[in-house]
Amino acid sequence: VIEGSEVIPELVSVVICAWNNWPDLEMTIESALNQSYRPLEVIVVDNCSTDGTPEEVSCSFGCSVRYIRQPNRGDAGAYNTGFGVARGEFVQFVDGDDVLAPNKIEKQVEVFRAGPQADIVYGDVRMFQTRAGVANWIDPSTKEESDIWCALISSHVGICALGTLWRRRIIEKVGPWDETLYVADLDYLLRAAWAGCRFAHCPGGPMGFARVRPGQMTADQSAIARGLEIVWEKALGYVAREPYRSLIAAELARQRFNRALSRDITKQEALATVKLARATSPETVPAFVYIAARAAIILPVNLLRTEWLRPIRQWILAKLTFDSPKSRALIVRQPSIPGPRS
């Protein structure tokens, strides 16, 4: 971390994580460079891309961006490296797929100016698709939250890295992004909330456009479900205050229950997971739901995996409020997939 004397007041540092997303990355960098706000610096951290990124970035942007190449450490590792060299009073983290709205930084700095006690400003993000076709996702909308903890845990808040702007001092307080996680941004937001950060809402138009790529959603659904579980498990390790602890336990139990009933898990694992879900939060998974789920898993006729029964299953899950809207939003909105780690 840079010494305090090197911090330049008013400066916004945009840290972009690049990993094999040329030419999409071009628009990301352009959207950062051509903000209505000045002064601004752009730092591109390349997680060892094997595509045209290294040549193209230096060729197209030269010294208007700072380009750093490093071994692949996921988006969390890229954000850590980028923040390590950033000199801004405010920091924006962006994935190399996504696009900042042209006045995003300006709007959010205005919110910081109006409320100097705010540490993080968040706003809406809208999704767009790379390939033309039918749009079938859910865009979360953000609003002013009286209790950011409850919002982050149990409701559909839609706060993500792209839609937020951070004060430097708060990143120093929260510490580095966790590079061992698959869903790093939720963890970082939870830790920021735990560290006592004050979140302020920026109303109005979208702050950015998040790219939906073919394969992105469906292929990694189970990995994300698992990744979310790990984030909640980690949160249970440090969040001691009630009612937040129970809320997190309930969310974790829901995650586990949903994963037990998902299609990509063996029967044995499913039984173990549903048991774990009940142990995590007996209030969320009452005895009759637990028994019914076990029965459904054990039954030889595979009711849980039959494709044409899916609408009925979804309906039942929705009725039991086990289908958490947040998990759905995050499943759709997954940033770049980190490569294999050593």
Binding site: E26, E30, S31, N34, Q35, V99, P102, G133, P140
Partner: protein, 324 residues
């Protein structure tokens, strides 16, 4: 129309139509002012907005853009006024709801530079929604076209989006003014451009802009849009005299009327019959006697149009259609 000596080579004029869309128009203006291509002027034409637009636009942007207020003449009127004072060699028209991609102008100018004969460059546009919720639309994919007029007049044709297009001044001089009497002015403008011999180039890659979907938007009024599109095509049949474009367009209009008569519930029985007869008269080739009489029976029969429209009878209808 601006005299040619007023034109500044290399300059791009962005003409934004504003009508009661503050604060959305703020993002539209920011996306135009902060392009990666620098030689650029922004003209905001305000169709007499009754919201904060007249105070906020001059206050926030001052001399960085030219702001004109005029009686409401719809988008077409705003584009005409904007173009009449534009100095650009290239012109971008956009609605105050929408957002240009940060490198849109630069990307499309690269295509113009590589192909000096082009009049119009078009590219992809992506949709986003104003309020959160389930996404429910289809984004269209553009491809390079050899014969744009054929594509625009074909029954299963394509739609160009003004937001994704960059005009060379020559195109606007060839085509003339935007038609202020039409509800769907852009469809008309692209048809006329293709008819007047404009050469179209395609800009591939990332989206050129983001189009806003808002509750209560013009697009939402489907019956007015249907009427508006029909008016555009009826106008086109008046000037598109060359074959095969003319027959193709006639078939397109006939299909459109036929579809509205049988497959929508916007019309009462008598209107539907008139539309059906009109469809047959427009293109006896597209609407064969057999198709016409089958549709006539459907419309006349009580509940016949319900049979034609209900979702769950879809597979059955497809079987019947195949038999014919």
């Amino acid at each position: 129309v601006t005299a040619a000596d007023d034109m500044i080579p290399g300059l791009v004029s962005v003409v934004i139509c504003a009508y009661n869309n503050w604060p959305d128009v703020e993002m539209a203006i920011a996306s135009a002012l902060h392009q990666s291509y620098r030689s650029l002027e922004v003209i905001v034409v305000d169709n007499s907005s009754t919201d904060a637009t007249p105070e906020e636009v001059p206050r926030r942007f001052g001399t960085r853009l030219r702001y004109i207020r005029q009686p409401n003449r719809e988008c077409a009127g705003a584009y005409n006024s904007g173009f009449s004072i534009a100095h650009g060699e290239f012109i971008q028209f956009m609605d105050g709801d929408d957002v240009l991609a940060p490198n849109k102008i630069e990307k499309q100018l690269t295509i113009f530079r590589a192909n000096p004969g082009l009049d119009i460059v078009y590219g992809d546009v992506r949709t986003f929604q104003e309020t959160g919720g389930a996404a429910n639309w289809t984004d269209l994919a553009m491809v390079p076209e050899d014969d744009m007029l054929a594509k625009l007049t074909a029954p299963q044709g394509i739609w160009l989006n003004t937001l994704g297009v960059l005009f060379h001044r020559t195109a606007l001089n060839k085509v003339g003014a935007w038609d202020e009497c039409l509800y769907v002015e852009d469809a008309d403008y692209f048809l006329r451009a293709a008819w007047s011999g404009c050469r179209f180039g395609y800009c591939s890659g990332s989206p050129m802009g983001f189009r806003r979907l808002r509750p209560g938007q013009k697009m939402e009024n489907s019956s007015a849009m249907e009427r508006g599109i029909e008016a555009v095509w009826s106008k086109a049949i008046g000037y598109i005299t060359r074959e095969p474009y003319r027959s193709s367009l006639a078939a397109k209009i006939a299909d459109w009327r036929f579809h509205r008569a049988v497959f929508t519930d916007h019309l009462v029985t008598r209107e539907a019959l008139v539309d059906l007869a009109l469809a047959r008269a427009t293109s006896p080739v597209a609407i064969s006697a057999l198709r016409y009489s089958a549709a006539y029976v459907m419309v006349m029969l009580p509940g016949g149009r319900y049979l034609a429209q209900s979702q769950w009878l879809g597979p059955l209808r497809r079987i019947v259609a195949r038999l014919f």
